[in-house]
Point group: C2
Chain length 303, copies 2
């Protein structure tokens, strides 16, 4: 089947592009890690898209639907946030049309007033969320707690198909800066599930994180545990603290099941940390959800 | 009065040395920031002490009492930890004598089994704590919660003059790595007390830190607050989370008064964050306490 749409998840560190057929099936895909918006100069996104991304995916000038940080002031052009509560139709109504002869739309991010009155924001995860919801009608009913792990993990509360509340946890970034720049840094990073589980246990109720973090150091200098265990222990501690305390910020009880959406390996670690607390989790592929979300938006507004 | 003791607080990043008279009064003092143990090669401490530190402080080869990371395996020679509960006499009984013709003693650190069964350790803060306790007999009675803020803040529970429990919070290090290496980095760092107070308020009960940290980003990108406020907000958030949740790890109720021991400016920030929670705090000079502790140990074992 011929290609109908060029779909892009264009984030801070990577651009992932797909050509989709008229039913939303993937015809081709490609990553452009050099085109993450953090690596672009102001005004550069348009030219790189026209000269590199589009020709690499299709000989035609397909309609294009883009989500992610490309819609921020660091990206191509600003796509103003939709306010939560929001659903797929709200996003479709606020798509940002790019100036010029080509049909190119950018998905707005979503803003929520926040758990303590301070606004929180997302760009890209909303497209995955609504793509995941659109894939099965059952998902759009009732109340669902969805977590998208990553550098800036998103915890999203969905009620009857609308994203009503969400909060961002900087867990992935904390892990990255601590394992690279702090006293907890380690040259070696083995996947040590026993150390991960010990970290999850040390996270307690997700309180007093700065003190619990020091246990990662103390177990090496005070107890002679191998430093090679530290990255896995640190990962367990940070993820354990996140899953223990973050749902309460959305008004959840902390024992509700969680749907995990994103990278399979990372979602697996979250599922393990949740299981240690007796919480059920189901894991879903973030990339398939992004494709489904971009295509669902296209179907609503197609030229 | 002639000098009687060369006293050194020899830590990771700095060596501070004093000559003290026979009553413990300071005759002279000097910093050697180039001699922090993190900057020394293995085996280098002894030569640098003999060739640089001692000649700079006194023409005589005075008896010397050293505390801090100099007693770790990164320092001069290993001074094995005393186990908590411990008091000044326990430290005096475990002073490490350095090999050679000179009278040089290194104060042991203290180890505690830890709030969740994982050992915690300190080197240097115990000398300040016991110096502070020794300065007024009243401080050695009853129960006291003492906090020594810093890169690795120590929360110490003292019962009838004995250090019974303590826990380390990596708050200062979290602040340093986040303001330098994370999305929360900022070129400018004004002392903005309103932003500090907002950060303290955003710390809540000291739970879900990774999520609360993202409010420092969201208030800039979502609400248009100036990025120059971020360091002060981040400082308030981290210190607020620490003072809210750490005392409970020692079995304290969270509304007990806190004695702050250390750098005056940093102690002031902690006192402000505690006051926002309705907790009384009194502030004491860490340097005077270190001098008093080193001298009190010397008096117990002097040659």
């Amino acid at each position: 089947m011929t290609a109908a749409l060029l779909a892009c998840d264009w984030g801070t560190t990577n651009l992932r592009a797909w050509t989709l057929d008229a039913r939303g099936g993937v015809v081709a895909d490609r990553d452009f890690p050099g085109l993450g918006v953090a690596k672009l100069k102001p005004g550069e996104a348009e030219a790189r898209f026209r000269d590199e991304v589009r020709p690499a995916l299709s000989a035609e000038r397909l309609p294009a639907m883009l989500c992610g940080m490309v819609g921020s002031n660091l990206g191509w052009t600003l796509a103003p946030y939709a306010d939560a509560p929001a659903d797929l139709d709200d996003l479709a109504a606020r798509l940002k049309a790019v100036d010029g002869p080509d049909w190119i739309r950018i998905v707005p991010g979503v803003r929520w007033a926040g758990f303590n009155g301070q606004g929180d924001v997302m760009r890209g995860e909303e497209t995955q969320l609504f793509g995941w919801l659109a894939a099965e009608p059952e998902r759009g009913r009732g109340r669902r707690l969805v977590c998208h792990p990553g550098t800036h993990a998103k915890w999203m509360l969905v009620e009857d198909g609308r994203l009503t509340r969400f909060v961002t946890a900087m867990t992935g970034e904390l892990f990255a800066v601590l394992k690279t720049h702090s006293v907890l840094k380690s040259e070696v990073a083995a996947d040590d599930m026993a150390a991960f589980d010990a970290g999850v246990a040390a996270a307690g109720a997700g309180d007093a994180l700065a003190a619990r973090l020091f246990t990662a150091r103390a177990r090496v200098v005070g107890e002679g545990r191998p430093a090679e265990e530290t990255p896995s222990y640190l990962s367990g501690l940070l993820i354990g603290a996140e899953v223990a305390a973050t749902p309460a910020l959305l008004g959840c009880t902390g024992d509700e099941p969680v749907s995990l959406l994103g990278d399979a390996k990372l979602c697996g670690l979250y599922a393990r940390a949740l299981a240690a607390r007796g919480i059920e989790a189901d894991v879903h592929d973030g990339e398939a959800a992004a494709v489904a979300g971009l295509f669902a938006l296209y179907e609503r507004v197609r030229p």
